[in-house]
Amino acid sequence: MQQMEQQSIKRKHDEFSLPLPASAEVVVIGGGVVGCAIARELTRFTPDVVVLEKENDVADAASKANNAMVHSGMGEKKGTLKAHLNVRGNRMYDRFVEGLNVEFKRDGMFIVITPRSLSFPWLRWIPAWLVRQWMRVCLPWVLVAYGRGKGIKGLKRVRRKKLLRLEPNLTPEVISGIYDPNYGRISPYKLTIALAEHAVINGARVCLNTEVMGVRVEDGEVRGVITDRGEIATKRVVNAAGCFADEVARMAGADGFRIHARKGATLLFDKEISTVVNHTISELRVPLAGHSKGGGLMPTIDGPLQLGPTAIEVEDKYDTSVSREEIDWILDRFLYLIPTFPKSSVICAFTGVRAPTEQEDFVIGVSDKVKGFVNAAGTQSPALASAPAIAEMVLGVLQGLGVSRTLREDFDPVRPGKPVFSKLSDAERQKLVEEDPRWGHVICRCEYVTEAEIVNAIHGIIPATTVDAVKRRTRAGMGRCQGGFCGPRVSAILARELGIPVTQVTKDGEGSPLFCCESKDLLKEVV
């Protein structure tokens, strides 16, 4: 171990907070998927971009805790900006992720029709057999036509027999369904981190642990952004502050919308049971209760299966709790689809808070009150799917405000990926161990994460300085034991690489220490 200690580069903890730049061509407030996508698109034209994030990492709010689906637009109301950007964003995805070295799979989704799909009260006046026949024969075509009307291509009707052949564990009560080939799966936090790193490679600066306290506006024009670490002079601000976008807009005097928090809880299951479904499956439910697209059973790109999410209005924008009612709701709602579902295989429950406006639509564009203040707000789901289109739109707005329209010749199209031990062949593993013995030191037993990967994450372009940040980049602690075994080891590596005592290692930044003190310290207090 000592030898390895010497090999690794020691850095002081506070060096990870970049010095605040004095000025920038564009300041993006918020390091979620939307903010980072905008920053990355901007760097194609100008390197002088600063992203401000108040948490210790990018993707540390809704972008880390959503259902990880690149929606097609099926769930959005026609005519809204959300529907338009969703359909467009979905189509842009393959090019959007090009060069990022983030896994993206577009393997579609089944929307299944079951006896409980329609719950209009007037249906009871119609004979049950007739309703069923209509749901079997006509409803799939209605859905296909509905989707086509929104510009969604490739929708197909799927008969019950085929559904049950492709998904043998599906409830036999299923009546029929459609297949939407546009749906994709991606890790939302890995995508966000990759976008941020790609932006940094191309000149942008991402300032973590930096909270915006005000926006300097003079003569109706943006002049700067005031943070808890100082001020940045700028003429253009992008407000991608998620749940807090309304507060940031108010700081600039550009208010006009209110964000209300709506949380969504999701259950995550052991990858061992991922084979109970082969595709993403959603159940048609109309009319929908609340503002959710209904969720579904979603095999995540990294293996574990997700069930959810819920949609609950909450007062507190930080309310990332999961309630007993939500757990029961998820199990009740989704286990109906897979009667044999091994629900005891749950390994995690988590919640993200959506950021909808009162109008339930995205708010994107330059403020009519403050020149240079551009909103990318109201970015609730499907913001992940819409991110490429939102970024494109915001870029257009900023170019209208003077940002260069000429593609940079020195733009580097590639954000290099790092090897992932669990996905390598034995020959590749052998080669890496020969180069660096830390590749042979498996730290996380459940997900097979090596010391080398953890060290890489800590010294990454956007450095991981907490246990959760390491987890998001490497999956260490994300498996079935949830860090029970690797927790002590990851904390020790973090302490060593950051050059801090292990008692200062946190789970998720300030206020979340893992330990209160060293052995015997409490006894001294008693005396």
């Binding site: 020959a427 052998q430 161990v433 292990v502």
Partner: protein, 421 residues
């Protein structure tokens, strides 16, 4: 260059089970035994179990975990067992091919004649029992807390609520108290303690730590670090009675809510798993459904005493040696069936009923003044009186073919618990 090694037996895991199994295999005459351990040192969980109470059966005295382990570690040191530390097994096939990796050798291909699985178990987490609330720092499993406190010298928190009265939970309640932390109480969903009676007395009562039976944690408060937990009484179906819910300020929630045998490798090798134990189905020599792959210790079933782990490992080690030296052909097995008030029995099958066999079993509910009985096709092979049987405490019964009146071929063995006179 990738290395291939071909030992006679490879033991996966060097906790109490792996150590004893490797030694037993060597003692039975094997000269080339390999012991593979993912940690940096031998002993598994024992080095962090600094309390006493280990070895009352094997050594007839109360040892601490490190003492118990050291006996076997010294024995391994004196033997010619090939020990691979800091080595992670990545794959195991039904053909007994092991792929492992470490920093020194890189990828290792190991092709032993027999394999002994001794990976132990892991802890159930808050999510597996679906405790609602936030996900702050300060929610910790008992084994992890034990490692931090006893190995790393770090204290996870100063005011602690404990859920689950399993043995480690109670032992850690005492450990936190001795460190000067405040243990607000131990909460247990069942109406009886989850661990051994001696731990209720020595770890809780002696330190005046309250034990709240029929209670559970209903919510974890605190976004960054635990600020409080809500607890409530539960009804007979373990549903919380929300009207009894109360909030207890604390900075740590420690969980001792069960252990799960770690059988990821077993599943990779296609070994049959018993849903009752969550471990491999084994026969009287601890051989699994895959020929040449044996299993012992907590990977088979979570034992309550380390002594039983050692005993099962000695059987597995000898069985593996016998397999390597003599070969083995298993006939149609005899099923071992749990009877009245028996949850499960290990071994689950008997391939050769040619010797005395120890049956380890757990009862379904506590019962006083009972007779535990092993019978073959209705014929009682052995019976033993017991003052009390409780689900947390495993019961051991021995029986052999000598007790059979006419030595006929047995088709089924039943282990049951009946009311005594």
């Amino acid at each position: 260059m990738r290395q291939t090694r071909q030992p006679e037996v490879a033991v996966i895991g060097a906790g109490p089970a792996g150590l004893a199994a490797a030694l037993a295999a060597a003692q039975a005459g094997l000269g080339d035994v390999m012991l593979i351990e993912r940690d940096l040192e031998l002993g598994g969980i024992l080095p962090q179990c600094i309390h006493d109470g280990f070895g009352s059966i094997v050594f007839k005295e109360a040892l601490t975990g490190p003492e118990y382990a050291q006996y076997f570690i010294d024995m391994v040191g004196r033997s010619n067992i090939d020990v691979l530390l800091d080595t992670m097994v990545l794959d195991l096939t039904a053909e007994r091919k092991i792929t492992a990796i470490n920093s020194r050798d890189g990828v290792l291909e190991i092709e032993p004649k027999a394999v002994i699985l001794a990976m132990g178990c892991r802890e159930r987490t808050r999510h597996q029992i679906l405790i609602p609330g936030f996900r702050p720092a300060g929610v910790i499993t008992a084994g992890a807390a034990q490692r931090y406190m006893n190995i790393e010298g770090l204290i996870p928190g100063r005011s602690v609520v404990i859920l689950g009265s399993g043995d480690i939970g109670m032992i850690m309640a005492r450990r936190f108290t001795l460190e000067g932390a405040q243990v607000e109480g131990v909460y247990e969903a069942m109406d009886h303690p989850g661990g051994l009676t001696r731990n209720v007395v020595q770890c809780l009562q002696d330190y005046e730590i309250p034990l709240h039976l029929s209670h559970t944690v209903t919510f974890i408060h605190g976004r960054k670090r635990v600020e409080a937990v809500s607890v409530a009484e539960v009804d007979a179906d373990f549903e919380p009675k929300m009207e009894t819910e109360r909030r207890i300020p604390c900075d740590t929630l420690m969980l001792s809510v069960g252990l799960i045998p770690e059988n990821e490798l077993s599943r990779k090798a296609g070994i049959e798993i018993d849903p009752a134990t969550s471990g491999p189905v084994v026969d009287e020599r601890m051989e699994t459904s895959v020929p040449g792959i044996f299993a012992c210790g907590n990977v088979v079933n979570v034992y309550d005493l380390v002594d039983y782990v050692t005993q099962s490992a000695e059987v597995a080690g000898a069985g593996a040696a016998e397999y390597v030296l003599q070969g083995r052909k298993r006939e149609a097995p005899i099923r071992v069936v749990p009877g009245r008030n028996v949850k499960y029995v290990v071994p689950q099958i008997i391939s050769d009923f040619d010797r005395d066999i120890s049956f380890y079993f757990r009862v379904e509910h506590p019962e006083k003044a009972v007779v535990t009985r092993v019978s073959a096709d209705g014929e009682v092979l052995s019976q033993k009186k017991a003052k009390m049987v409780r689900p947390p405490e495993m019961v051991k019964a021995k029986a052999g073919p000598d007790a059979l009146k006419d030595g006929h071929k047995v088709s089924e063995i039943i282990v049951d618990v009946n009311a005594g006179e």
